[in-house]
Amino acid sequence: MSSVEQCIEKATKSFIDQGHDIQDIKAVGITNQRESTVVWDSNTGEPLHNTIAWPDTRTKGLVRELKAQDGADDLQATCGLPLSTYPSSVKLLWLLRNVDAVKAAYEEGRLSFGTVDSWLLYNLNGGPDKNVHVTDATNASRTMFMNLHKVQYDDTLISFFGLDRNKLKLPKIVPSSSADAFGSFAYGPLKGVRITGCLGDQSAALVGQQGFSPGSAKNTYGTGCFLLYNVGETPVISKHGLLATVAYDFGGHRKPVYALEGSIAVAGSGVKFLMNNLGFITHSEKISDLAASVEDNGGCVFVTAFSGLFAPYWIDDAKGTIFGITQHTERGHIARATLEATCFQTKAILDAMERDSGHKLTELAVDGGMSNSNLCMQVSPHFTLQTIHVLRALSRTMRPDTSKHHRYSSRSTGDARNYIVGCRYSSRFRRGHMERVR
């Protein structure tokens, strides 16, 4: 919590320093890395263990075991996700099996579970006093406990993981935008300010990019890439190993909107590889210059499968491979091939999404660190044959990182935009103003 509190303090201070009044902040939205799992004692509000962050693979063995269990093949049709190390369910199961304090709390019926949004909302509202224990539909759709079609917890799913709902307190699933479900700040500089929006980070990026119609997609280029493809009001269960998820749920008279999601393991990390391992460049921004030093890839194709290839290929027995090296190959060609690899994989995923959903790709919006490479962005549309809208990083967004290092990262600008767009007041508040907290 301290990183978030510090972030709020600094952000509000800089807001005031810019000549604004704290009273101008009428509502706040939350966005968070999804799937990361927090457990706490519902009586005291004390966390029972460190958060297990989303990329954590300690659940590998557990997943192998669950995959062999009866009913494992039916899960995806209900919740949209295949069994993997990512969903919160397997993280929670790991905690229950390996941490005595968690097990004891569960047996005594005082185990509260949540993703990071729930944990933040619970604490910002004042912890056990108010006991605000909620999550939004986008975050809930990553737990593997939620029926994607009904946007409700599903007993079949919960019992697949051997869990008893009487012993476990799950956060209430509410729409991503709500005037009162998320409560308000109980303390700090924003005391009394309402929290009116909550979206998982990838959803926030799609919303920030205004990917509101079926066939609109966003790609966040970071270390890896995350693609989200709006499929409309009916979930699409993928035949190509993509994930089905709630894109956003604005509540009221609107139905939840769904998305297909796919990720590319190596994007910015490929550029880092050229810099740190091969010494091609001294700063990652120089990648564009290096790639532009040659006219084309000179026949080089770099399959950046450092640890296999994800969607839609699912190749686990490959490693990174560069094809087409000749006497004339220069560093520029390899740099170009590295950038192109991300673009090719983006196209492959978008093609699969198009086939799965039946909605033609209408618009691709791009954000994230690597989108600052002009060359990469110029190359991208060559293959998707779509105009690409690039939303550059706004001012640095202070965003607490849930990894153990508690650093601030300036990632997806979409997250920041969620603060604006995600904060939709109910019509009861007539004189509302929305301000971005930065």
């Binding site: 693979t57 590998k60 997943v63 993997s84 190390t85 920030g208 990019q209 205004q210 509101f212 190993g241 194709v301 399959v303 499968a305 640890s307 296999g308 290839l309 994800f310 290929y313 699912w314 190749i315 686990d316 027995d317 490959a318 490693k319 491979t321 094809f323 192109e340 690899a341 090719f344 196209k347 962005m377 110029q378 991208s380 549309p381 060559h382 293959f383 998707t384 044959l385 779509q386 105009t387 690409i388 809208h389 690039v390 939303l391 550059r392 706004l394 935009r417 604006i420 767009v421 939709r424 007041y425 019509s427 508040f429 007539r430 509302g432 103003h433 929305m434 301000e435």
Partner: protein, 57 residues
């Protein structure tokens, strides 16, 4: 900024810093490059022995 009710009202938000990139090679050229990529992907299969593959997805 006021309350929004319909998506259309949001159109003007976040347009300022937007850059637009359009494809500037021919469809044929694009298809040719993507096909070559596909071949490369197929050719890198099987580098690891079955017991070395990570197999976690």
């Amino acid at each position: 900024m006021d309350i929004w009710k319909e998506f259309d009202e949001l159109k003007e938000i976040n347009q300022k810093d937007r850059m637009i990139f359009k494809p500037d090679i021919s469809k044929e050229e694009s298809a040719k490059m993507f096909k070559k990529w596909g071949r490369a992907v197929e050719m890198c299969r099987g580098w690891l022995d079955a017991d070395e593959a990570e197999g976690e997805f």
